[in-house]
């Protein structure tokens, strides 16, 4: 069933989104090309309450696009679901099949079932990759996004885009990302001897604590270790601003939004290396902005972290100022303005193309 949308529906959608992202009003956007008016953009979003940077990003993209005059929606699966904890954006539902010919559906990398279900619809299909580890998790050998008629791929990380390009040969587009500098900022007077980590991603935190505790119990007893769980973003940001250390113990981090937020808050980021973050996070050299160890190698992480904890204990972190300051520098350009400009520019170009590029399914010899 195709649903016809009224003009007022579109206008109110845009207004809602614009209200939800105040900084957008200051930007002078190019309006969508006139022939874009017939096509809508749908970002598929799983119906989950999980607080994740990926879902925030999907909502943010739609908010930015709607605010810039695009006919853009979050596409949830079941009627009535929407994330009330995120800024309001226009929402539609897959079960209502709201698509018109030439509409564009943007499908997250983990939703291969939806890709498969929509593969023959008369719409254009893009994938958005937020986490590299989900891409091949749900795909059987011999099947990939080309078999689901995915036309092109959006990512915010160059190494992830490179992986898609290397394996599937699909056109990829690397867009800028952002963090909220009004929530994540460095205030030295806020800092406490806290080590924080996202509880659901910290499989190894007990082992890390025990190995550091065996080295010296003050690392456990004199500092507060806080697993962050079930907070709203304001509360979460407050904990991050207070923290001296942010531990990233995720085995497969996509684009490392949480690490960048911690850097912006002047916390030392320490954790496992992530393929999606290679361009931004430096574990060594003059631009060092964090402490990195290979995935799962918490003994090496403990060894790397110990001098910083000892410095914290002794009240003299002078030797670490350059690392913290490199972290602040690394995220200074990761702004909502840069993200919005890249996103609008990308969609402007896409809408300006009247026919999608179709590539033959091919294999590199």
């Amino acid at each position: 069933m195709m649903v016809e949308r009224s003009q007022s529906d579109k206008l109110s959608s845009a207004r809602v989104a614009s209200d939800g992202a105040g900084h957008m009003q200051a930007l002078a956007f190019r309006r969508p090309p006139s022939h874009c008016a017939g096509a809508s953009i749908y970002y598929v979003c799983p119906d989950v309450a999980l607080k994740s940077a990926g879902i925030r990003r999907l909502y943010r993209h739609v908010g930015i696009l709607a605010g810039a005059g695009f006919d853009a929606y979050i596409l949830h699966l079941s009627k009535g679901f929407r994330r009330e904890d995120l800024p309001p954006v226009p929402v539609r539902y897959l079960e209502q099949n709201p698509f018109n010919t030439n509409d564009i559906i943007v499908i997250p990398e983990g939703c291969s079932t939806i890709m498969k279900a929509l593969k023959d619809h008369p719409v254009r299909r893009f994938a958005i990759v937020l986490n590299w580890d989900y891409v091949f998790k749900n795909l059987l050998p011999g099947k990939d996004w080309r078999t689901f008629n995915i036309e092109r791929v959006i990512s915010v990380s160059s190494p992830i885009a490179e992986m898609i390009s290397w394996s599937m040969g699909l056109p990829t587009h690397v867009l800028a990302s952002s963090i909220d500098h009004q929530l994540y900022y460095f205030d030295k007077s806020d800092k406490q001897p806290h080590l924080v980590y996202i509880a659901r991603k910290a499989t190894h935190v007990d082992q890390l604590k025990r190995i550091l505790g065996a080295r010296n119990p003050v690392f456990i007893n004199d500092f507060k270790w806080i697993g962050l769980h079930g907070m709203n973003e304001r509360e979460y940001a407050q904990e991050i601003r207070r923290a001296a250390v942010f531990l990233n113990l995720s085995f497969a981090e996509g684009y490392p939004t949480s690490c960048l937020e911690a850097m912006a808050s002047g916390a030392l980021v320490a954790g496992y290396r992530s393929m999606g973050a290679d361009a931004l996070m430096r574990g060594e050299g003059p631009e060092q902005n964090c402490l990195l160890s290979p995935i799962g190698d918490y003994p090496s992480l403990a060894v790397a972290l110990e001098p910083y904890l000892a410095a914290m204990y002794n009240g003299d972190k002078t030797m670490w100022e350059s690392v913290i300051s490199n972290g602040l520098k690394a995220v200074s350009n990761v702004t909502p303005e840069t993200e919005a400009e890249a996103l609008v520019s990308f969609w402007h170009d896409i809408c300006a193309r009247t026919t999608p590029e179709r590539k033959e399914i091919w294999t590199k010899a």
């Binding site: 590299w132 580890d133 891409v135 091949f136 998790k137 795909l139 059987l140 050998p141 011999g142 099947k143 990939d144 190494p159 992986m163 290397w166 394996s167 599937m168 007990d206 082992q207 604590k209 025990r210 190995i211 550091l212 505790g213 065996a214 080295r215 010296n216 119990p217 003050v218 456990i220 085995f251 497969a252 496992y272 290396r273 393929m275 290979p294 995935i295 799962g296 190698d297 918490y298 003994p299 090496s300 403990a302 060894v303 001098p307 000892a310 204990y313 002794n314 030797m319 294999t363 590199k364 010899a365």
Partner: protein, 273 residues
């Protein structure tokens, strides 16, 4: 350990896998609290971890592989990749990624997950395989990799932390293809040229890696293992290596760290040793 901590005997630990050490200990207790006197290991990585964290004396012993079972016979080799089924959580994702690059990588090469084989059958499969895949992220001592190296199968995978001193994929004489732990994408990039050569019968280009790997494995003989074991136990049994630590567990003093060239050093031994 806890049960025996007050028995009148001497207590040693033999550490075979690094990942079990701190995942099985309770908070705020370690082997020193259980009156463990010293630690035996065959893995330098495990030795370093114990020394660094608990400060216990560590004895590095040699290990061995059975060279009568694991030897190189080029005539036996097939277009085959072997892996231990229970240790390869990333194999499916790696296969999907590689197949997406080129379906021949999974269609023209046999991928064999080994499970519950006899030692003879296992060794025979390893000897037939051109590649041995090891994507375990937590390996203690990489016996299976050494056996594969001795049998002329190119080891591809992660170092699993415990193999980082032995597996080299860079430098003058690489003996394997190793990616950073957990990064199966980087592993796929490294493996693709090798798989191309395997499919197109160009494996002679990999002879230097195979030779280097065989040299690495050659060093692990039963004789060396036996002599290192005897050398360890003799002074223990004949009383030359006494129990070094009695009393309260002490920790490294971090309030006044040693500093050398502006960097903290780890040179201060724990009190009591």
């Amino acid at each position: 350990m806890h049960q025996l901590k007050d028995h009148p005997g001497r207590r040693f630990v033999i550490a075979l896998s690094w990942c079990y050490v701190y995942s099985t200990l309770p908070d705020n207790l370690d082997w020193r609290h259980m009156s463990i006197e010293r630690v035996l290991t065959v893995s330098p990585a495990i030795g370093e971890m114990i020394r660094w964290s608990m400060g216990l004396p560590v004895h590095q012993l040699s290990s061995s592989i059975d060279h009568r079972l694991y030897y190189f016979n080029p005539d036996e080799k097939q277009k085959q990749i072997a892996f231990i089924a229970r240790k390869n959580e990333h194999t499916l994702k790696l296969q999907s990624l590689l197949a997406s690059r080129n379906p021949d990588y999974v269609n023209k090469i046999k991928w064999v997950g080994m499970d519950r084989l006899s030692q003879q059958d296992y060794a025979s499969l390893i000897r037939q395989s051109a590649l041995f895949l090891s994507t375990s992220m937590a390996e203690g001592f990489p016996t299976s990799c050494l056996e594969a190296m001795a049998a002329g199968a190119i080891v591809c995978g992660y170092d699993g932390v415990g193999s980082r001193d032995m597996l080299r994929s860079d430098g003058k004489s690489p003996n394997s293809l190793i990616a950073s732990n957990g990064d199966y994408v980087a592993l796929a990039y490294k493996m693709a040229p090798l798989l191309e050569d395997l499919i197109h019968d160009r494996m002679d280009r990999w002879d230097p890696v195979i030779s280097s790997a065989r040299r690495t494995a050659d060093a692990y003989t039963a004789e060396k293992e036996a002599s290192s074991l005897i050398a360890f136990w003799k002074p223990i049994i004949y009383g030359q290596l006494q129990r070094p630590f009695v009393g309260e567990v002490k920790y490294r003093d971090i309030s006044n760290p040693l500093v050398k060239n502006g960097q903290p050093t780890d040179e201060c031994p724990l009190p009591g040793y």
